[in-house]
């Protein structure tokens, strides 16, 4: 997977947003990852921690929140959420009409700056 390239993009984006608002240091970056994504959080964290050195995000902590997939079973109307990468069958009635919504792969949610 391309965790290194993603870490690079997210670090740049966070730094850009921080400076744009007139701040000079990033303490925390919170991002969200879709459960359907192939991105490995551990690898992303590893890459991020290597790349942040000598930047204004040097002392920052990266928080990664997984966002579940959600859907409503067309057959029994149960609202489903799952942290699995994908599911086919409704866990309640075992029908295959889940109509799963897949969230955006990756988002920068908020940053904490001074």
């Amino acid at each position: 997977m391309h965790e290194l390239s993603i870490a690079y993009s997210l670090l740049n984006l966070a730094i850009e947003e921080c400076i744009k608002r007139g701040f000079s240091k990033i303490q925390k970056i919170k991002i969200t990852i879709s459960s359907a994504s192939n991105i490995m959080p551990e690898a992303l964290l590893f890459s991020f921690n290597a790349l942040k050195q000598e930047t204004i995000a040097q002392e920052s902590i990266l928080y990664i929140e997984k966002i579940p997939l959600s859907g409503i079973c067309q057959s029994c109307n149960t609202k489903i959420t799952t942290f699995k990468p994908f599911i086919i069958e409704c866990p309640v009635c075992h029908d295959n009409s889940l109509n799963l919504q897949i969230p955006d792969d990756l988002k920068i949610d908020e940053i904490e700056v001074t």
Binding site: H2, Y8, R21, F86, E110
Partner: protein
């Protein structure tokens, strides 16, 4: 202090993929990213498709492999422009590799570009190359459980090619299961059954491609 951002993170790859997409659009090129396991029949399928397509439309090909020029030699025999891309270890093509290899293709003369990705059912699905559509080829010898094991690649593909159907008498696989599982993952995927051995189904697929590029 906390600042709410709520922005999508685009990787460097996505940015370059957009540049490729613009480039294809400017040259009016329709691009197909062909993915599948090693040995699924990607190159064979391209050979068969191009034989039928090349009198109808100007075709170009980029073939990706970790190393070697075998696939490019095979395509070269069909007398269409081809670039062999060696990833030197990477298990997928990325947008930057495509961007670089476009310099070696006569873009003005190409209307349909095939990109044969590196053999793999996982990583290629994550890398947008700037293509118009993704197509996955699955051969019957790989077994009928693959769509459910690797859902993402099937989810992102516009078409599924089920290859090697000439081998049906020798195998215990269910084409119906492949089709059913694939449609559950991706209800709008278009499915073609083909054999690159006896040409079955190739014409159907070629007709579909022609409707996409007109």
């Amino acid at each position: 202090m906390k600042i709410k951002i709520a922005k999508k993170i685009f990787s460097e790859n996505d940015k370059i993929a957009d540049i490729n997409r613009e480039n294809f659009k400017r040259h009016k090129i329709f691009t197909i990213n062909l993915m599948g396991s090693p040995g699924a029949g990607k190159t064979s399928f391209l050979e068969k498709s191009i034989s039928l397509l090349k009198d109808k439309v100007q075709v170009g090909v980029i073939v990706g492999d970790i190393t070697g020029i075998d696939d490019a030699m095979r395509i070269n025999k069909l007398q269409v422009p081809v670039v062999q891309l060696n990833t030197g270890g990477a298990c997928h093509l990325d947008a930057n590799m495509i961007n670089n290899s476009l310099q070696d293709l006569p873009l003005e003369e190409i209307k349909l570009l095939f990109i044969e990705n590196v053999g793999n059912l996982v990583c290629p699905a994550d890398f947008d190359l700037g293509e118009n559509i993704k197509v996955t080829i699955l051969s019957l010898t790989e077994g009928d459980d693959k769509p459910l094991k690797y859902p993402l690649i099937f989810k992102k593909s516009s078409a599924l090619i089920i290859n090697k159907i000439d081998l049906i008498p020798f195998l215990e696989v269910s084409i119906d299961k492949i089709k059913k599982d694939c449609l559950l993952i991706n209800p709008t995927i278009k499915i073609f059954k083909v054999s690159c051995k006896n040409n079955e189904g190739i014409e159907n697929w070629v007709k579909w491609i022609m409707t996409m590029i007109l």
